[in-house]
Amino acid sequence: MLEITPLHYSLLSAALFMIGVIGVLVRRNVIIIFMSIELILNAVNINLIALSDQLQDLAGQVFVVFVIAVAAAEAAVGLGIIIAFYRNKETVNIDEIQIMRW
């Protein structure tokens, strides 16, 4: 309990990952689903940083920098898609986004 091991960080990461997955599966607002994906990426980053500290290897932190770059790209493109979709259908409800054509 008082000794913090990498296992604790992995469990925190897993719990945050699970919260993100629940958000993706349960919510219907596309924007909140994208936020849940950011939570998932953050959970992965916590794991990488904790193991990087444990193994004294900087490769984990380098990988986190790449994950953050990919997350930024994903947010930009995803939110662009949301804007384009909202302009056409006037909704961000995932239940109404079910046809793969305009």
Binding site: M35, E38, N42, A59
Partner: protein, 181 residues
């Protein structure tokens, strides 16, 4: 003991805010919970001796990506014109207070990395002694210099690919959000 207190406090707050993000009724509230969540994860990175990634987390996640989310929430969920609608519960000084908290966090990261790099230099840090920065001074963080060294030598090709990815994403976002090309 201190590490345990910090970890458990951060863990409870991070998980609680994560639940708040996915359960908040209003999307704006979700985004605000997400900002605090990212800042607390940055604090967790500082405790794990990853000061550079913590700063990047604050700048890119809490500063850039979340602002993008806020813009989209405002664009998509605007019910009334902002000129005709003023929220009576609006508290103007909360923004100042939050901005001060972010400033305090950035300063704390700077102070912490300045202090801790003394100890890191004594133990050799994360890298071997073959890098030119293994005896870096106490003014800047050892972590940043070592990470830069690894990033520009062993991981140069992935680094360039990441920049290409960001360029493609930027062009894609402009094409998607633009009405007419």
């Amino acid at each position: 003991m201190a590490e345990a207190i910090v970890f458990w406090t951060l863990a409870v707050l991070i998980l609680g805010l994560g639940i708040a993000v996915i359960s908040a009724r209003s999307a704006v509230h979700s985004v605000l919970f997400l900002v605090v969540n990212f800042l607390l994860v940055a604090v967790l990175y500082v405790t794990l001796n990853a000061e550079f990634v913590a700063v990047i987390q604050v700048l890119v996640y809490a500063g850039g990506i979340v602002v993008l989310y806020l813009f989209v929430v405002m664009l998509v969920n605007l019910k009334k014109a902002p000129e005709r609608y003023a929220d009576p519960r609006r508290v103007p000084w909360t923004g100042t207070l939050l901005a001060g908290a972010v400033l305090a966090e950035v300063i704390a990261i700077g102070v912490y990395s300045t202090v801790s790099s003394d100890g890191a230099a004594a133990t050799g840090g994360g890298l071997g002694a073959d890098t030119p920065f293994s005896d870096c001074g106490s003014l800047v963080s050892c972590n940043t210099e070592q990470l830069g060294w690894v990033l520009y030598t062993s991981y140069l090709i992935p680094f360039e690919l990441a920049s290409m990815l960001l360029l493609v994403a930027m062009i894609g976002a402009i094409v998607l959000a633009k009405r007419h090309l």
